[in-house]
């Protein structure tokens, strides 16, 4: 059998006509173009952002059988265990299946919700998100959160209605769009074996750093903890939080920030690596601290400290460094996206998380150690007593002690301004 019969040469296959390959190329381009048009055509149909909640009984019956996907940061093994082993079974009793979706950053959940909004979906895959200030504000900008449900939760009656931490989230009005979950306090942590006589103010800490070169550093903004440190320092160089307006004001920024950048620039040569580089995030700083490269670290979630010391990640002599002028405090919340299809189930779970029993279980340092958002004076007597009987953590002082003199947070508009200012005025200048 000749070669020519069974194996046509490539020349025979390549037809001179462009007709044969044109159709599918154009078809492909058209399909892709069509998809693109579909993507960027008119904005998504408005979802029921402000659909009024029926009676609680209606919500509970609608929630039965629903599956709720809770998107939360997965880096805290105690938190994961609490949701999987304590909260989820409790939700099951109410007929709701709670699924935890671990994410590296809440922004991933936010991006998913925004994409779903752009696509006009109402049966989205995000039902409940553990959010904090800046993500909440960003989401409000994009219409990502469902509103008009939080104040109707039965367990809201145990919270103080005028608690500033619960009515405004990083300066953005909560406005019935999210339900509170934990309270947190920005905390400096030090190794008492290395620092025998710790300073008692933030200015004192920076002076200590000047005297001990290479033993202190802070995470680079835009990391959440690093940004909080910058804000705390802004309060300190401005002579107290009363001197810094909560809402971003260009005049105030221009007046107050130069002192901040100057102090950080003066501090830089005494920092780890001479201030030429900074840990990428709080995890990197914690690693430096654990490896004995620096003597201080910082966190906005002191609940994790107990477990870190218990497992030996942090040295045993780790202690919380209280500042006389107080530190930033805030609350974190659970928000329901406007694209969620299981909103009723999500509300039931949020209500459950707010219940005195769950807040108490969560506050146990052996379980999670997250501070409660409830007002102790509004709790029934047995619950109040149970809270008081919680074991103490060897590392973290109780919340009333830790939050003494708590400073309010600035509005979230300050955050990107300070982050960018830090990059321009401190990081780039020290190179």
């Amino acid at each position: 059998m000749s070669r020519a019969q069974h194996r046509p040469t490539s020349r025979q296959l390549v037809t001179p006509s462009k007709r044969r390959r044109a159709p599918w190329r154009y078809g492909a381009a058209l399909t892709a173009g069509g998809m693109l048009l579909a993507a960027c055509s008119a904005p998504a149909a408005t979802t029921a952002t402000n659909q009024p909640v029926g009676s609680w009984a209606d919500v509970r019956s609608e929630a039965r059988g629903q599956t709720v996907s809770l998107w939360m940061w997965g880096g805290d093994s105690q938190g994961n265990a609490y949701v999987d082993d304590v909260l989820a079974p409790a939700a099951k009793k109410a007929g709701v299946t709670l699924r935890r979706v671990p994410v590296v950053d809440t922004k991933e959940a936010l991006n998913q919700v925004i994409a779903e909004r752009q696509a006009g979906r109402t049966d989205g895959s995000v039902d409940l998100v553990w959010v904090n200030g800046d993500n909440f504000a960003t989401g409000q900008q994009a219409g990502a959160w469902r509103c008009g449900w939080a104040d109707d939760l039965p367990n809201m009656r145990f919270t103080a209605p005028d608690d500033p931490l619960l009515t405004s989230d990083f300066g953005t009005k909560v406005d019935d769009c999210e339900s509170p979950w934990h309270k947190a306090q920005f905390t400096l942590v030090y190794d008492s074996a290395q620092i025998a006589d710790p300073p008692s103010s933030l200015a004192g800490v920076l002076d200590w750093a000047d005297e001990h070169p290479g033993r202190f550093t802070y995470p680079a903004p835009p990391d959440f903890t690093g940004a909080a440190f910058i804000r705390q320092l802004l309060y300190s160089v401005s002579g107290g939080y009363e001197n810094v307006p909560a809402t971003l004001d260009q005049a105030a920024y221009d007046e107050l920030s130069p002192a901040l950048w100057q102090r950080l620039r003066d501090l830089a040569p005494s920092l780890w690596r001479g201030g030429r580089t900074y840990p990428r995030d709080s995890v990197a700083l914690d690693k430096l601290y654990a490896q004995g490269q620096v003597d201080l670290t910082m966190t906005y979630g002191p609940a994790t400290l107990t477990d870190l010391v218990a497992t030996g990640t942090f040295p045993e002599t780790t202690r919380v460094l209280p500042l006389a002028e107080g530190t930033l405090g805030n609350a974190s919340f659970l928000a329901i996206p406007s694209t969620s299809g299981s909103a009723a189930g999500a509300m039931v779970v949020a209500n459950l998380a707010l219940s005195p029993e769950q807040q108490r279980l969560k506050a146990d340092p052996q379980v999670w150690g997250q501070f409660s958002v409830l007002d102790q004076s509004r709790l029934p007597a047995p619950e109040e007593k149970a809270f008081a009987d919680l074991p103490a953590s060897p590392v973290v002082p109780p919340y009333p002690v830790l939050s003494r003199n708590a400073n309010p947070e600035l509005s979230s508009a300050w955050v990107p301004a300070l982050d960018e200012g830090w990059r321009r005025n401190v990081l780039a200048e020290v190179q």
Binding site: M1, R3, H6, R7, S10, L13, V14, T15, R21, M35, L36, A38, A39, S69, W71, W73, G74, G75, D76, S77, N80, D84, V101, P102, V103, V104, D105, E108, A109, N111, Q112, A115, E116, Q118, A119, G120, R121, G124, S125, V126, S282, V283, D286, K287, Y289, A290, Q291, G292, T304, D307, L308, T311, G312, T313, F314, P315
Partner: protein, 283 residues
């Protein structure tokens, strides 16, 4: 081989061993460590608790999901890449340069940007998560499979096929008994790479899966984002190494079955040395 040459060869192998294994050492040590302070050279306490806790948490289900994804990508991307490579190598299509550039393009794309745009389109079309992830990952794997096979075709002599045909083999026999065994190492490599694209992908699974598809890399990434989770990350990573290793072993066994004359020393049975036995082997 002289003694110095053999010694140099041994030294090279030893250096390569050190090069590949050293970065894996921290992982191996952490996987077996129950407690390791940041300042000591070795863990204070050893234990197998980390590995068992992987299965206690969602680890087992995540492994199965990753397996499904990896297999789907391998099954789709390997033949597609092989066929495209053959068409390019034998110049059977018009505009090979454009097609080659197109098939190479996915490597040059920043994944998160592309996926964000695609996510909206897929959501609007109500495409199920698994399908969307598989489509994007197959496209991501295509450069690897296509160009691995393209390079293999550059070292491949099509004369073997011609010779088999002149000796009377049917096109099917040519394909299955000549082309496939000769290309089997490259095909195995391509399938392995495609499987890995699906197995170890994080960002596409996260963004297009809508949280419903929690695979092993998602567990690893979320564990790595917290302090003090090195044992979990290490245990998960070690668990993540096992199925690809098993896959490579099984691919090797499959190759040996397809082409038994190539087992053992490659020298003896290499067709480049002695093409005649091929006819008997083709029966």
């Amino acid at each position: 081989m002289t003694r110095t040459r053999r010694a140099l060869g041994l030294l090279l192998v030893f250096l390569l061993l050190a090069w590949f294994l050293t970065p894996l050492l921290p992982l191996a040590l952490w996987a077996g460590a129950e407690s390791w302070s940041g300042t000591s050279s070795l863990p204070q306490r050893w234990g197998a608790g980390n590995l068992t806790s992987v299965y206690a948490s969602d680890g087992g289900a995540a492994v199965l999901r990753s397996l499904a994804l990896g297999t789907a990508v391998a099954v789709l991307a390997t033949p597609a890449g092989a066929v495209a490579a053959r068409a390019l190598a034998l110049r059977q299509v018009r505009g090979p340069r454009l097609i080659a550039a197109l098939l190479f393009a996915p490597v040059a794309l920043p994944v998160f940007a592309v996926v964000m745009g695609l996510n909206v389109v897929l959501l609007r079309l109500h495409v199920p998560g698994f399908l969307g992830i598989t489509l994007v990952l197959v496209v991501t794997a295509l450069p690897y499979t296509t160009f691995l096979m393209r390079a293999a075709y550059a070292a491949y002599d099509v004369a073997f096929e011609d010779e088999a045909r002149t000796l009377g083999a049917s096109p099917g026999a040519v394909r299955w008994r000549v082309r496939l065994p000769l290309l089997s190492p490259a095909l195995a490599g391509a399938a392995f790479l495609a499987f890995l694209v699906g197995w170890s992908d994080y960002i596409v699974t996260l963004l297009l899966g809508g949280g419903r598809y929690v695979t092993l890399p998602i567990l690893v990434a979320s564990a790595a984002s917290g302090t003090g989770n090195e044992p979990t990350v290490a245990a998960l990573s070690l668990v993540a190494l096992v199925p690809p290793a098993l896959l490579l072993v099984s691919l090797g066994l499959l190759r040996r079955r397809l082409n038994p004359r190539r087992s053992g020393s490659a020298r003896r049975s290499d067709p480049a040395v002695s093409p005649l036995p091929l006819v008997e082997g083709a029966a």
